[in-house]
Amino acid sequence: MSAQPTTPQVDNDSMEDRLYTVKYSDPGDSHLDVKVPDVCTQCDTYDCVRVCPANVWRESEDGVPHIAYENCLECSSCRYACSHDNVVWTYPETGAGVTYKHG
């Protein structure tokens, strides 16, 4: 008998693999944006980046976050997270975006 039972290893998928589990149709245009880019260059919290569960928002060199909109799970968290109310959030048009099989 081993003295110290070990916690079994749980292998988590990479973000890429996780997002790969969700059906996605590209609306062609980003449904997300920032209202005033200068607000982002002044922003030092990047709350949009911190909260996003799908790695859509990414810090970039010019200070305005890069938006990989095709990763978006449409959870809406970034919309609430930005304390400068600087997120433009619309729905991808005509049913495009994510389609969950299970939900």
């Binding site: 996780r18 997002l19 911190r50 909260v51 799908a54 609430y80 005509t94 049913g95």
Partner: protein, 451 residues
């Protein structure tokens, strides 16, 4: 069979002025409203942005069904398992202290009206019930705004060509991310203190028959609902983790306030990974394959955040109206969504009978909701979120640790008499709560949870 109409059909100008009521969103609240109105003879148009109802929807979860069961032929509902055990678990970094409840009664139909479901299937089925009652459903169509005439709401704009559709009543059942209601100034945007981010995975266990039955000690259609609190569940954040068993998959996830996600720099993905790796959780989910990763927000503002529910020509229902009870012990939004849709549908049907459209004519809806469990429960627990927030370090970090220490001491096996162990155990808990006075104050503060 799916009840989908060809999405393009909405471009058909005939839809304009063809309906008595338009429902925005075919979630639980929307389909309940549509079904109720259709049953009462109204011509209803139900508009959903997803390619089918449920395609955009995510929850834990357990669907609470006392009202749905009355409204539908429930035998055909796509249920996963009934909840036979509820378990509440405090996790410190390495310990677990849990309470499990599994009354015999829950094994008997209707199983305390608590069933795990997957929304993709369930919402589609529920919308189908509305369609069978006469509702017209259009999918892949997003409502982008409301149409007003002399201040009154008289229809919706959609993202389809010629997408303006007018009708005397509009039911806003668009969920928590209520862009239409907010855009039309019917409600304010929630602050990030009052919204939680939820992330979830659906797991399957390839090549392992009966693994769910074995790990969760289940037979037949019985299932579990496990809730986890404390730093082992969601780190420094205010929220919790959950595990629910489906027929042949397991739903696992975490949900916590957006305010904490940003303040503690705790990404949802990392928080979920840490929860899954906790020593008390990992054995339940090891060797699984992720079949779906998803995310969604939960409005948690409670009773104080409920907006005006009726306007001239419109009513707001479900998550769009902030009708979710999430106090740590209860996480209930499904039942409130259906109940609110039902009462709004009834109020509109009555107003339509009388040919009236003003907000006053719809007042029967907020009145009925006020008397129902929805508002009663939200008001009953309004104090709790504030109290828990004030005590969060104690409740989520100190107490889980103290209970784990107390348990360790109480059951310690050595050559000292048990009396000394019991004394140590008692001290571990008393130290955490601030002595007997602290314990008494705490008991007083939270007595309403049980009484």
């Amino acid at each position: 069979m799916t009840p989908e109409l060809d999405g393009d059909a909405v471009a058909d100008p005939n839809y304009d002025d063809e309906f008595d009521a338009i429902v925005v969103g075919a979630g639980l609240a929307g389909s309940a409203a549509a079904l109720t109105m259709a049953n009462r003879g109204l011509e209803v148009l139900l508009i959903e942005r997803g390619s089918s109802p449920g395609a955009k929807n995510v929850f834990g979860g357990v669907c609470y069904t006392p009202t749905i069961r009355e409204l539908t032929d429930f035998d055909g509902a796509p249920l996963e398992r009934y909840v036979a055990e509820r378990r509440f678990s405090m996790l410190s970094r390495n310990d677990e202290t849990a309470v499990s409840i599994s009354p015999g009664e829950w094994h008997e139909a209707p199983h305390n009206d608590s069933y795990t479901v997957l929304r993709g299937e369930f919402d589609e089925w529920f919308a189908e019930q509305a369609v069978e009652a006469g509702t017209t459903l259009v999918t892949s169509t997003t409502v982008t705004g409301l149409v007003r005439k002399n201040g009154r709401i008289v229809g919706v704009e959609t993202d389809r060509p010629d997408g303006t559709i007018r009708a005397p009543y509009v039911v806003l059942a668009e969920g928590g991310n209520s862009l239409v209601s907010e855009g039309a100034d019917l409600k304010a945007t929630e602050t990030r203190e009052n919204v939680a981010v939820g992330v979830k995975e659906v797991l399957e266990f390839p090549g392992r028959d009966e693994v769910i039955e074995d790990r969760f000690r289940l037979t037949d259609d019985a299932g579990v609902s496990y809730h986890y609190f404390g730093e082992g569940a969601v780190g420094d954040a205010f929220g919790g983790g959950f595990i629910y068993t489906n027929d042949d998959t397991v739903s696992i996830g975490v949900a916590y306030r957006i305010e904490d996600a940003v303040a503690a720099d705790q990404s949802p993905e990392a928080t979920l990974n840490a929860f899954k790796s906790h020593p008390a959780v990992a054995p339940l989910v090891r060797d699984a394959r992720t079949v779906e990763y998803s995310a969604k927000t939960i409005p948690e503002g409670g009773a104080e955040s409920i907006p005006d529910l009726v306007h001239d020509g419109a009513a707001i229902v479900g998550d769009a109206a902030g009708l979710v009870l999430n106090n740590g012990v209860h996480l209930e939004g499904t039942n409130m969504a259906v109940e609110s849709g039902y009462h709004a549908g009834n109020a509109i049907a009555r107003a339509a009978d009388q040919g009236r459209v003003g907000a006053k004519a719809l007042q029967a809806y907020p009145d009925a909701l006020e008397r129902s469990f929805v508002v009663q429960n939200l008001e009953r627990y309004a104090w709790m979120m504030d109290a828990v927030e004030a005590d969060r370090d104690l409740l989520f970090e100190d107490l889980p640790r103290a209970f784990a220490d107390a348990g360790t001491e109480y059951f310690r096996m050595d050559r000292t008499p048990k009396e000394a162990h019991a004394e140590n155990a008692k001290r571990a808990v008393l130290d955490a709560v601030g002595g007997w006075t602290g314990a008494a104050k705490l008991a007083l503060r939270y007595r309403k949870v049980v009484t």
